[in-house]
Symmetry: C2
């Protein structure tokens, strides 16, 4: 049975980390909220899981995955669940836990990237917190982007199986997610991220290779890949880069 | 061999979620950074893991756990690792994943609580971002605290095994962490959290019961429990409550 991914239909957002894993594995899945309401899909189907009191494991927010009776929320937990099923993680328990740690650190970076344009409240428009956003984005560009990328650089450099992948010698969901983090940072902060990547050549190399992965490249060429836009996590506001 | 927990020695912070699990289970552990430098402990020992290029799985930041050859960073990943070993999680895989999801949602709330006093940059003093903090804390108090507590209330209400615990009928690390989240929110935002708890009586009940847990109560009465203070995640700045 196809996996059901539930996420907002007009943005990459956090759902994209799951979409990338499903696409790279060639998995059978339905991006439910993007489907037709007439077939029981669409945002209505997604909201049902959030609103109905009948679910014992209610997701806090999208994205969440439905796989038969399993309803799994939290991006990193979804990938923890999918990794072995999609062949996108090592078999060894400690390697799996390490891959998950990498994912959790990517999640932290994603939340910080989001907060550059929403430093005060998610419920307010960007325009109503722009002044604070300019201050927060500066610290993010100058301190946090280099810190995160330097750390991933050291992880790649120390991988005993070579620096092509974050864990072991095979593609994992953490590689796909690091690609997506870098891709998003390059969209939102092209100047600052370009500079940081010059100090992180192994990360830059991983980013290039993932984009060339056969199924990933086919996905990007399809209509299934939603372009970045200013409703998502990574937003290009020139005043926040520099 | 005793677990080695590495975390900043003067605050509860994120390390406290791990300390609580270790204490509630009566586990043998060393809080390394709080130990004597003369015995190879202290902050120097912790920094070694962060700075030395010899570690293949370098933690991004404290807390991290050392268990023999395993070095595990990220609070939620540490608890994912410790849960089965400490008997603080169900045996069933889907229950374990659900417990982890709850923990990840607690981690999100913790990060948001931190950002109320540091909405611009962790590297700046509170006084240098106080104006923004007042704005962010207001949104956190009015929208986020109720949203998080309401969700945990519904999780407790829907638990088929009763509303005493978040998962199944036995104490899990997620219960301990929800206690700590509520305890921290009550310290930092006593007025707002008190109001929110009136709408979340099951969460309030869990908070009361965990505090009465034999080993947890003994821990709180000991010098091992560091009091809340204004260096940690949860800080009492009266201007941020209301």
């Amino acid at each position: 049975m196809a996996y059901e991914l539930h996420y907002w239909p007009t943005i990459q957002g956090r759902g994209e980390f799951v979409r990338l894993a499903l696409e790279a594995a060639g998995a059978d899945y339905v991006d439910v909220a993007r489907g037709p309401e007439s077939e029981g899909q669409g945002v209505t189907a997604t909201m049902h899981y959030l609103d109905s009191p009948k679910f014992v494991h209610p997701p806090f927010a999208p994205p969440f995955l439905v796989d038969g009776k399993a309803v799994v929320g939290q991006t990193a937990a979804i990938l923890l669940y999918l990794g072995p099923r999609l062949g996108l993680v090592a078999k060894n328990d400690l390697q799996r836990l390490w891959t998950h740690q990498l994912q959790l650190t990517i999640a932290d970076a994603v939340m910080e990237a989001h907060d550059t344009h929403h430093p005060i409240a998610t419920g307010l428009y960007y325009e109503d917190q722009k002044k604070e956003a300019v201050r927060r984005a500066r610290a993010f560009r100058e301190e946090r982007i280099p810190k995160f990328l330097d750390w991933f650089e050291s992880v790649l450099a120390r991988n005993p199986r070579g620096s092509a992948c974050l864990v072991g010698a095979r593609l994992s969901y953490a590689d796909l997610s690091l690609f997506q983090l870098v891709e998003g940072l390059l969209y939102a902060f092209p100047l600052a991220t370009g500079r940081a990547l010059q100090q992180a050549p192994l990360v830059a190399g991983l980013h290039t290779r993932v984009a060339q992965h056969r199924r990933v490249a086919a996905y990007f060429a399809s209509e299934r890949r939603i372009p970045f836009n200013e409703e998502g996590i990574f937003r290009r506001y020139p005043e926040l880069d520099g």
